[in-house]
Symmetry: C2
Subunit: 407 residues, 2 copies
């Protein structure tokens, strides 16, 4: 009944979404307080008050025909102007409004950019581990995903990237702060990526675009800063989303910023606008375009995520589980004690803990836990994590007495 | 820089959108009062008051984390439940909530359905003239569009449809009330379509789905009624949008309804949900899902469009231009006096009238005018239409004295 392609897609469907659905099922079965769902990057803080105020103001002051009607496929002109100005002021860029194309979140933006760039058989490099959906997005346009493994600290490995590039490479996708590891690529990493791409461009004689997937751009902790990716490489297409910074994940609002000096700038801008139409997005949701622009410089609630991060690190430390210390985003990459991530996540689920095996991010041996949850979920899960560690023969390290879980 | 595929797409880009952009340019150049833009199906009436009230209520009463966050890819469960109930009550159907998948408008819904159904090389039949974007949507998934010409009254021609079907046909797309002709397929037309499809299904031994693109479902005039398409054929996938009925075109909100007795129902529902995710929609915009459900039974302002239709018909009658008398939607299909639709639209543009050549809808000899505009635009355009007709040697018929345009 459905296509062969789709049958395979359903078979290998998103482990994240499967876990999210499983969480809802388990909560209904066991009680919500016995399920610790860390599966989905769904912010657990409400949008800042300014978002609601902006939405109410737009509904009150803006004519309905304008507020809820079609505009150019790339978005409202004043919205794109505001976004360009904000990026220019914050990051010393020189974006024009034509370089900003409003999108249905970063996922929409990535699909638009890939539609604009890819002919069947073209290659797109990614640094593994990577957000598993990239595989689907690249496949949507007949492209081939080529993996370049990160180094042992989950930072980009220039030699591995170089090896992953070929005359068929149209783009490299990077994602910093990173999903699933929480790694943040600093200046030297970005310079190294730029150098490798520039060398490959001259070697192969055609542009290789850097697609920067940056929904977590503002989410960095402990004094770490995220340099602005497009500042380091001319041929950058930045895909941003307000999903995390303004807690608008369900509203599907973001944008593509085409770097002003990118090769084929005019053609790229047109192609992104046409792709937005052709793929059936037509335009990013209108009210939320305006709300996002109204709130363009409202900072995210970093303190909330940072305090979650500290609490979650403590819970894992206490349990004796190893993990990659996150610098940004809101994910923790926990090591499967015996290296089997699928079994680890299965055993975790038996304890009511929902985390996602790293196999769905292109590497083995880890599980991703999203800590954009309520602080209570973290504190109440500590005992379950300790029990899970104990099953692997790991002794408690401190603080938690597993025989007296406060009962 | 951009892909070969995209270069072709930009070259043959939507004439509708090109005309819309041209309209904005001309308005800036000549003054908005000298441009009569009938290019785009963008409702010119604000959403009903209930829409704003519902949005304000949701913002006030619904927790931000729930209202603006992720939900299942197919949409909020209570929203899908409400939509299923409403369809069941109005059309005597038996939809379950699993059969409703919330989409980014009907354009998003069509892409989702086609992604679910098509492998490269599969065929999709359409009745020409047809909404030109179908060609892009089918091409997105490597499908092949096959045209079945409508009869001389722009109604489905069973023999032509039969000829367009093959063992490779996965679906027939229909659109009633029709864009661009305004034709409405009544009971006998729908029965004839169902018969042809059923015969082809048994002949070829595999399901052929009827994709019913129905954003204009409620927009019918002059005592005409639109029977509910899915009531006539088991294997129907209905793609609805609130763009026109609630004037929410820019918000991108609609749904797919999978008929409960469709072959492979469970698989189809899953595939639509997975396709929503994979294509980068992720889910339909969250606030607008809730608003649409809150307003599910709010009727559109038919009287506005109907009075526009009457005024527009009169303007064309007075000018002496021939057209297809519309029964529904908000389009008028005007005959190019000498059969050259491209030249007709070019000449119209010289008079400040923006209409879209029928070539972009797969037939020659007509132009589409969207009358979802302000009544003033229709009345003020009458003289320009009369002048246009005169250029073709058509004498005024009544009412309008072209030498005295009220100056």
């Amino acid at each position: 009944m459905i296509s062969e392609k789709m049958k395979q897609m359903i078979g290998s469907s998103s482990a994240i979404r499967a876990m999210f659905e499983e969480g809802k099922r388990l909560a209904a079965e066991r009680g919500a307080d016995k399920v610790y769902d860390f599966s989905l990057g769904n912010p657990n803080i409400a949008p800042p008050a300014q978002v609601t105020e902006a939405a109410e103001k737009e509904l009150r002051e803006c004519k309905g025909v304008f507020l809820h009607g079609y505009m150019s496929n790339a978005g409202y002109e004043d919205v794109r102007e505001k976004i360009a100005s904000s990026l220019n002021a914050r990051f010393g860029m020189n974006y024009g409004k034509d370089g900003i194309v409003m999108t249905v979140g970063a996922a929409g933006g990535l699909n638009v950019v890939l539609k604009a760039l890819l002919d069947p058989g073209d290659e797109v490099a990614v640094i593994s581990p990577y957000f598993g959906e990239y595989r689907c997005y690249v496949s949507n346009f007949g492209g081939k995903l080529v993996e370049a493994a990160a180094d042992k600290d989950f930072m980009p490995d220039p030699a591995a990237i170089e090896k992953a590039l070929s005359p068929k490479t149209r783009a490299l996708i990077i994602n910093t702060p990173n999903n699933p590891t929480g790694a943040v690529y600093g200046e030297s990493a970005l310079k190294a990526i730029a150098r490798v791409l520039e060398e490959a461009q001259s070697k192969y004689g055609s542009p290789i675009y850097l697609i920067s997937d940056e929904p977590y751009r503002e989410l960095v902790y402990g004094g770490v800063t995220q340099p602005y990716v497009a500042g380091y490489y001319r041929n950058t297409l930045s895909c941003y989303s307000f999903s995390k910074s303004l807690s608008l994940a369900g509203e599907r609002i973001g944008y593509i910023a085409v770097s002003p000096d990118a090769d084929g700038y005019d053609e790229l801008c047109s192609a992104c606008s046409v792709a937005t139409r052709i793929l059936g997005f037509v335009n990013a949701p209108s009210l939320m375009q305006r709300v996002a622009a109204d709130c363009i410089d409202v900072p995210p609630d970093i303190a909330f995520y940072d305090s979650n991060r500290v609490a979650f690190e403590k819970a894992l430390d206490d349990a004796g589980l190893e993990y990659v210390k996150p610098q940004g985003a809101f994910y923790l990459f926990v090591k499967a004690p015996d290296g089997d991530d699928l079994l680890f996540c299965q055993r975790a689920k038996d304890k009511g803990i929902l985390i996602v095996p790293s196999s769905s991010f292109g590497v083995k041996g880890y599980a991703r836990a999203a800590y954009c949850v309520s602080p209570e979920r973290i504190s109440s899960s500590a005992a379950a994590f300790a029990e899970l560690a104990e099953e692997y023969g790991i002794k408690k390290r401190a603080g938690v007495d597993k025989t007296h879980k406060g009962e």
